[in-house]
Amino acid sequence: MRACLLLAASALAAQDAVSILQNQCGSCHGAAAMAGLDLRTREGLLTGGSRGPAMAPGNADASLLIQAVRRTGSLQMPPGKTGLKPDEVETLARWVAGGAPWSKVVSPGEPNWWSFKKVRRPAAPRGYANPIDGFIQAKLDEHKLKPAAAADKRTLIRRATFDLHGLPPTPKEVDAFLADTGADAFAKVLDRLLASPRYGERWGRHWLDVVRYADTGGFETDVYFPNAWRYRDYVINAFNNDKPYNRFVQEQIAGDELWPDNLDLNGGFDIPSEKLEHLQARIATGMYTIGPAYHEAAFFGGQVRYEWLTDVVDTTGEAFLGLTLGCSRCHNHKFDPITQKDYHAMMAVFANSEEREAPVVSQFNIFGFKSGYPNWLKVEELKGAIQRINQAARKRVVDKVRSRFGADVLAAYDTPQAKRTPEQRALAAKLEGAITQAGLEENAEGKEADIPFTPEEDAEKKRLIVELGEAALKANPVSQTATVLGRSARRMDTYMTHRGDWRSRGEKVDPAMPVVIGAAVKVDDEHRRTSLALWLSDPSHPLTARVMVNRAWHWHFGRGIVATPGDFGRQGEPPTHPELLDWLTSEFVENGWSMKKLHRQIMLSAAYQRASEGPEANRRIDASNRFLWRMNRQRIDGETLRDSMLAASGALNVKMGGRPVIPPLSKEEYTVMWARGQWPVALDPKEHTRRSVYLYVKRTFPLPMLTTFDVPDTSQSCSRRDSTTVAPQALTLINGEFSQKQAALLAERARAIDAADPVSALWRLAFARVPAADEKARAQSLPLQQLALVVFNMNEFLYVD
């Protein structure tokens, strides 16, 4: 249950009241204690200020505080015309009438919340090969729960393969594991899985959810981010290379500041490998260049910037701190001790940064690109020649339209817009309207309107287009860049805003870290993001490592030790196993922030290897399995589903990296797209069967199949996906073109593997097992291709025990 369920109504009321005092009165009657009144504590209220006690608990009417906010007497607070809102007054009055219980919940300045306290390594429980099991067993004992038996090997390898690769195991892999009777057989499987590049694709995808990855900016223009994929590949490679998580954090926040090398050759042809690594660190800051791009919708640079900083702070908060900072843009956080000032101070950390294009090739190669530039000149020349033909043809149409109008209209039309008289405007509009009607504009497909060409023009144009194509084949890109963060040359100050309105300008705010979390730190004004990166990645930071360890647990078990992996604040859930979380966190840090070691630690525990069924009696005590007496049965997500279908059918193309793949859509899918020219389909069909992590993520047009299966919204960080069950999913898998096609391939493949018994082959490909006799009998009643379709739809295909 959520923490808030446990809060009694009175505690909530107290929290509201204290929050009002803090937000509305705190700036004068906090540390400043104007008129001697300090409203930060209950004692402060009781002692009061120069006018005596501020409240009489139990008697609202007699309390000075209430009289002042009701504005009934001589003292009217807060100063100004409006005062508090009626419901705020009412909340305070009811709270005082109820005895004014103090809520410790909102009190900035003291880290009394568990997740803000330092990680303390508990002693590992004795008698357990894997200390994780000791911690889990303690909770099971406490709640009188008996653990489930160990899962069988077939289940285990299927679980581990989906978990680390997002794919089903191949029959060969299953056979090898079953044949290996050694005690370390499963450990060997883990080593194999972790060494495969499929691992980074799976776990990188998890991280891409957290950083709200997309290839376009959303809104009307939905601008294409040509280099977003470099950041996506960076993430995948970081997981595959087991980049220490502290370094991963540092690179994404301040890779450019911490490793500022350029790619000079230092006299040699090969770029030294450490410089390439530093280039990766810069690409990592792409995290902050792939968010929603609000620019077209704003009139002022200041607003665009404020929106960008909002996205930056919110994403940083959820991704690295596991906190929802968003509330604090407009007011002090109601539940967590994050103030509006903290929020703007974090904005200030990023305020002297801006997006820029960094070359990803050496100076030497840039020379090469530049020498190839004349090829582009030829392309431009040919484009110009084609456009001249178009313009000539267009002019003929316009002239024909003009011939229908009188001299006054033509004169008006030929007068520059700014110089037209009101009468001329009206006259010119007639001709303009007629030209528009003639349909000389582009249509929705991005194709030009049908302009009548002469046969000579037509022939010449066709010739030029062929030549253009040939020239384009020779024209290489003139530069290759990554879109990264850099330090802005201009100095940008940050100011407090009123309720998040970017136009309002309050006091100036210096860059700083939230005051109640982690160690106090002095921000280096020239390298502000470095200060943030080092503060976050400090081993003693209470949140950074804890949050990531919990994310890993969440992705392994389907539920975190903290069930709200993106919210370690008071609205989040408390940890079910706090000692375990702290022990794992200290292990993680001691092991050099290695994700792969963390995976091994977790997956080698008995808890991970349990069956997903267990003693029935447990259900009455812990039906939702919070204490892990069994493994959770987990449903695979949309990408894993698509990838698994491709893997089973044999069509999966495991090519890694590069530009996003734009897959073909059905006619029906196209009809709802605003600008179809923005969907240039990959022409090589082999590209269409690559892993889902490489598919184009267009903010205004998420892929229908994936959206049906709960792929998250990309406007904000997502720490935990939904998993819904609705009929359109069934229709997608039963009738959809993709499903049909893969079913045909799967049937063919099963027949090729075992012509005599294709049903068993099918079962092995999809479920890592052979069918039972009655299953097989039932299965054989269908043509093989239809059976393959049924297999994709079976619960066993989507649920991993």
């Binding site: 959520r2 929705a444 229709l731």
Partner: protein
């Protein structure tokens, strides 16, 4: 504690929560349907919504909000007393005011003034509540569309249809709960009808009037109906065997149930989209079969058929991208543009209201008409000044929507704009106010319809909705 009660209620009532709060037995079939109708917060007449969205932003000044002063000041600059604001293409001090070329008349008993762009709809004036004082701050299409649809000027929040379905479920068991019909691409894209941070099951389902009505609804040509029935049967048996080996997993049961529903939908969706059984009189009423009105008329008639079957929320777009058409975006020759667009929707909308009324459905169906925003009283123009093309720029600071049905006592006007129609002045209606009112018509208290996200209980109406004018709508 209503907030938390709501969450618990949510977990119990949807397939989502089954994993977390698994009961020890398989739940009865009704609870397996995640869209099972849920009780209202309070009694009200409205059950379903038809939201007619005029994509591009229809001018209030040429339709529902007459401004005699504009005619007097035609061609002159905006008097400084009206103040200034930001518009997408025009600077207020550089643009001449433009009178409406339209004729406004008092309509019906109530005498609401409606222009001759909507002659057919005007006959329903006494059913309409015309809200002339809407406002938000999104002066570009996508911000306007998201304000209107999600109550927030950015992409990413759940749409109003998603919230309504989350709050009330669906009366129909075998049709989608939230249906969207488009006549072309829309600028905001799917975020306009997506579920944002609500679970994806609450997103709008796009229904088409030609080709397969919804994605993947048609069985592949090479599989016969009997074959497919056998396929579903086999699947059910195999899934049953799988489930029997696993104790009491309601998620598995829910997924099996979703296939039964999918199978039924394959019949019910094409059936509801098939207008051949409608009489010629009805088809005529909507303008079906006539070039200009056929498309929107078809969609309006489908909308009626959907709410008749209990679909909770239907949204229709007029003015999606098609060829060189720009929808209601009258930057150039606003009047020509609006005459063209109004001609497409006037008869279908009037027909819809007539038809709903004659079938007794208007009382339970809220019809809402609006767009991205309204348009400026001055001409749109090149380089910030008034251009020559008699166009109007986007105006989010004062614009009109109208509502009918769902218990609304029509024939009333709510709110006013200033004398040139640039800004809402009296009885200002924010999008939160509009949404709060819409929810009230459906019996939902907007402060209680919440969902936990990013550390707080989010509402469709954020922290707004104080000017909920529901009471005024249902009183005579």
């Amino acid at each position: 504690m209503s907030i938390n009660g709501n969450r618990r209620d949510f977990l119990c009532n949807s397939a989502l929560g089954f994993g977390g709060l698994a009961a020890s037995t398989i739940l009865p079939a009704a609870s397996v349907n995640p869209f099972a109708a849920k009780p209202k917060h309070f009694e009200s007449k409205g059950k379903s919504v038809i939201f007619l969205f005029m994509h591009g932003g229809p001018s209030h000044l040429d339709t529902f909000d007459p401004k005699p002063l504009l005619s007097k000041l035609h061609g002159q600059p905006v008097p400084p007393s009206f103040g200034s604001a930001d518009f997408q293409f025009t600077q207020v001090d550089k643009a001449p005011l433009m009178a409406t070329p339209r004729v406004f008349k008092k309509r019906g008993q109530s005498g609401i003034e409606i222009s001759d762009l909507f002659e057919n709809l005007a006959a329903h004036a006494d059913d309409l509540a015309v809200v002339r004082s809407c406002y938000h701050d999104g002066f570009t299409h996508v911000t306007g569309q998201t304000w209107m649809n999600t109550g927030w000027g950015r992409i990413g929040r759940p749409s109003v249809g998603s919230w309504v379905v989350y709050g009330l479920g669906n009366e129909s068991e075998n049709l989608p709960a939230f249906v969207v019909m488009l006549d072309g691409g829309i600028k905001a894209g799917s975020p306009a009808y997506a579920s944002g941070f609500l679970p994806a099951m609450y997103q709008g389902t796009v229904l088409r009037s030609d080709g397969p009505p919804i994605l993947n609804i048609n069985r592949p040509a090479e599989i016969s109906e009997n074959q497919q029935r056998h396929l579903f049967e086999t699947l059910r048996h195999l899934n049953e065997q799988h489930r029997e080996q696993r104790a009491a997993d309601t998620e598995l049961a829910a997924r099996m149930a979703s296939y039964e529903l999918a199978f039924k939908m394959q019949m019910s969706v094409p059936e509801v989209a098939d207008l051949s059984k409608e009489t010629e009189v009805t088809r005529k009423l909507y303008g079906i079969g006539e070039a200009q009105t056929n498309e929107f008329g078809t969609q309006c008639l489908m909308a009626r058929r959907l709410v008749e079957k209990g679909v909770r929320f239907v949204q229709l777009y007029s003015g999606g991208r098609k060829g060189a058409e720009v929808g209601w975006d009258g930057h150039n020759e606003c009047d020509q543009n609006h005459a063209f667009m109004a001609n497409k929707v006037d008869r279908p909308i009037a027909g819809l209201l007539t038809d709903l009324k004659s079938r007794g459905l208007l009382d339970s169906t809220v019809v809402l008409w609006g767009g991205d925003f309204g348009r400026t009283p001055f001409t749109d123009g090149a380089a910030g000044g008034g251009g020559s093309r008699n166009g109007r720029d986007h105006n989010p600071y004062g614009f009109t929507v109208w509502m009918a049905g769902g218990g609304i006592k029509g024939g009333k006007v709510i709110g006013t704009t200033d004398d040139i129609g640039m800004r809402a002045t009296q009885d200002k209606v924010s999008m939160h106010d509009l949404h709060a009112t819409l929810l009230s018509l459906l019996g939902l208290e907007h402060t209680k319809l919440t969902f936990p996200f990013q550390g707080r209980e989010f509402r469709l109406t954020d922290v707004g909705g104080q000017n909920n004018f529901y009471r005024r709508l249902i009183q005579g």
